[in-house]
Point group: C2
């Protein structure tokens, strides 16, 4: 494949249906912009769990990045083929079910959410799916409160991990060591902070898969030069009254998540 | 409604199905965290256009914010009720069609995309829908290359506007004055830069609707304290070779968008 063909393909990925030719994916590296980039022996399989009550932005932040990674197959995996409705009412169509998801995936991703996420923390079918696929996955990952589900499955025991600020203190109950960075990698586990952290997370995964220059090009494609209007994106940076009020909103969820964690850990503690 | 009831409702919006009580929305202000926040006389109707080939993150960035704005009705509007597939293969279910969208909406939003967006630039049915709803909308808005569709409909003539960096130079062909800020408001028109700019855009709209403190709480809810891994999110900030390569990927799209603009302007020029 010459540079022009490559460019056309990547443009296709960036701007239409992601057309990935097996011949490309079988190359171990390719030339782009005068640089060589690593390519996999075969397309990576990325399985993103979707479920009722998930936060759509937790899912779509990294999905948009992964979808632009030439040579990766991105699956939205649910229990059934039924439409999955997010916490703000977005209906998303699963592309795979637990039954027809590739048995070996390279990356397993669990997005967060609210009550739906807490329900998953004690959903045997979901925890079994995650545990089974985590055995062979290269990276077991999460965005936002998705780490509580990984933790409930026992998959964060002995690992450093993070979560949405409002519930991250629950992680130690699930055997994880809480680290409050925006993206935390500890060996095969990569967890990230609340909602928008999924974009930073996605770009870091892209860099792990294709190298820093490839990820730089994706960052530019996403025009990811954020300008938060208020600078109140963490409990530490927000004005005290805003932090207090927002935390109070999360209190019922925090209580429920803690209770779910205490039940879930009986599976493996 | 007392503070506890309000908290429960906002928590519901943040963490489950958005439960909005008309009684809440009919208040003109409410107390939150010791502060008063403006509330609308009636729920705002926010219509977000969805179409094949849209960039899902353009849509979901602001949708996640709007979905957390208590008292707003957020509609995903397509030509038909068929699943709409994004540029990276995410299937999204429309909640409304052109036919059953509220005839008067407060905010009209057009997300961007690639080839699908260019197709819309000369799609009469879509341009008519936008033109009709723009007449009464409080804000006519876009994320990323969605502004090219607004421009094609003649809705940016005489307005300052922006778009994704790779195609924004086309805006003057559509009668707009290009401004390269991340979010550009000119009277009733609010346009934003590429893909991830939709989050900044969404938070600014939230501030317009509910005040800065409310938007600060949403920024904290979204944990929007971004840490771009590479700092290459604009053509100016990216290394020269990355910028050159990425721009070359966009070249076919740029050519097509320019041609579409020249055709579209014949409708009204």
């Amino acid at each position: 494949m010459n540079r022009r063909e490559f460019t056309r393909n990547l443009c296709g990925a960036a701007f239409g249906v992601a057309i990935v030719q097996a011949s490309v994916a079988q190359q171990k590296s390719h030339e782009m912009g005068g640089m060589r980039h690593p390519m996999p022996d075969k397309p990576e399989e990325i399985a993103m769990l979707i479920y009722p009550g998930m936060t759509a932005l937790d899912l779509i932040g990294p999905q948009q990045v992964f979808g632009y990674v030439m040579g990766a197959n991105v699956h939205l995996v649910a229990k059934t083929k039924d439409i999955v409705v997010s916490d703000t009412g977005v209906g998303v169509l699963p592309s795979r079910t637990f039954a027809d998801c590739p048995s070996v995936v390279d990356i397993l991703v669990v997005p967060g959410g609210g009550k739906g996420t807490i329900t998953l923390m004690n959903d045997d079918q979901t925890l079994d799916f995650l545990s089974e696929h985590a055995k062979s996955a290269r990276f077991v990952t999460s965005v936002c409160s998705g780490s509580l589900v990984l933790g409930a499955a026992g998959l964060l025991r002995g690992y450093k991990a993070t979560s949405h600020w409002a519930v991250r203190d629950i992680l130690p109950l699930l055997g994880a060591e809480l680290v409050t960075n925006r993206v935390v990698q500890d060996r095969t586990r990569i967890t990230s902070g609340g909602i928008t952290a999924g974009i930073d997370f996605g770009l870091r995964i892209a860099a792990l898969l294709r190298g820093d220059d490839y990820a730089r090009a994706l960052e530019l494609t996403l025009e990811y030069d954020p300008q938060p209007p208020f600078g109140s994106g963490t409990p530490e940076k927000a004005p005290a009254n805003i932090e207090k009020m927002t935390r109070s909103m999360y209190e019922p969820l925090h209580v429920a998540a803690r209770e779910a964690a205490l039940v879930a850990r009986k599976r493996w503690a």
